[in-house]
């Protein structure tokens, strides 16, 4: 999926995979056909895709101090080279 603007196929794939549907299934083909002709639905599904994308990209790094506290908590500091 592209970073800012997932296309309908990206969104379709995501939707159909999560529905447990094959991309070529009647259901997916029908949804794809509807999406191709419905700007409102395209907008809606694009924003669903962007929502997922935002949460995917929002990550946090473990600090060195937190790593040391973890190894200490597990009594593995002596193995931490």
């Amino acid at each position: 999926m592209s970073e800012q603007n997932p296309n309908c196929k990206d969104v379709m794939q995501h939707i159909c995979e999560s529905l447990g549907e094959d991309l070529e299934s009647d259901k997916c083909v029908a949804i794809k056909h509807h999406l191709d002709n419905c700007p409102d639905c395209q907008k809606y599904f694009n924003t669903i895709g962007l929502t997922i994308d935002y949460y995917k990209k929002y990550n946090v790094r473990l600090t060195d101090d937190a790593h040391k506290r973890l190894m200490n908590f597990l009594d593995l500091s002596d193995c931490d080279k």
Binding site: H14, K43, I52, Y55, K57, V60, L70
Partner: protein
């Protein structure tokens, strides 16, 4: 060294191998913990408890899945336990489909400024929105959509049926999209 070899050595008491397993997975576990609880201190506590559980129960790990998948389950269980203990928090109900989809025709996110994920304002919107979602929905959304597990894997980890995962996933997605849409419309 390969994960399966490290697990084998760790099971036989090799502490160096155990430390390597922890180090290889700590970032994933911390990040996933944070994504569920949206709080660094809580995420660190859950990470510590998760690895403590891993060490205690490593002999039960059968190797049929990746270690990280097993760790996702432990993190999820710890997060759910912590959330259930915290009676002060309440979550919005997302059972009403009409409310979830009522603004479907109004969104136009192409004009939203500051779409960079490093933007603090956007981070706050993302935190506030997902914090309204109950952990049961949050975990399904995060495992399936954010971490990329299959629907079947998610169902197994969350101890839900596949239809229940799909139902929670659709509602969680629609709810989060609606919350972001509201925030972006202000």
């Amino acid at each position: 060294m390969e994960e399966t070899k490290l697990i084998e050595l760790a099971k036989s008491g090799d502490r160096q191998a155990l430390a390597s397993l922890v180090k290889n997975n700590e970032q994933t576990v911390f990040n996933f913990s944070f994504k569920i609880c949206r709080d660094r201190d809580k995420a660190e506590h859950i990470m510590q408890e998760t690895f403590y559980s891993m060490i205690k129960n490593l002999h039960q790990f059968d190797g049929h899945s990746k270690l990280s998948t097993w760790l996702y389950r432990i993190v999820s269980n710890h997060c759910l336990m912590m959330a259930r203990k915290d009676k002060s928090k309440s979550f919005v109900s997302i059972d009403n489909d009409d409310e979830l989809y009522e603004d479907r025709y109004t969104a136009d996110w192409s004009t939203i400024p500051n779409q960079n994920i490093e933007n603090d304002e956007l981070k706050k919107i993302l935190d506030d929105s997902i914090n309204k979602l109950s952990p049961e929905y949050r975990i399904v959304f995060l495992l399936r959509d954010v971490e990329g597990l299959s629907t079947e894997e998610t169902a197994k980890l969350a101890e839900l049926s596949v239809p229940a995962v799909k139902s929670r996933l659709h509602r969680a997605r629609a709810f989060l999209r609606k919350e972001l849409n509201k925030a972006f419309s202000r």
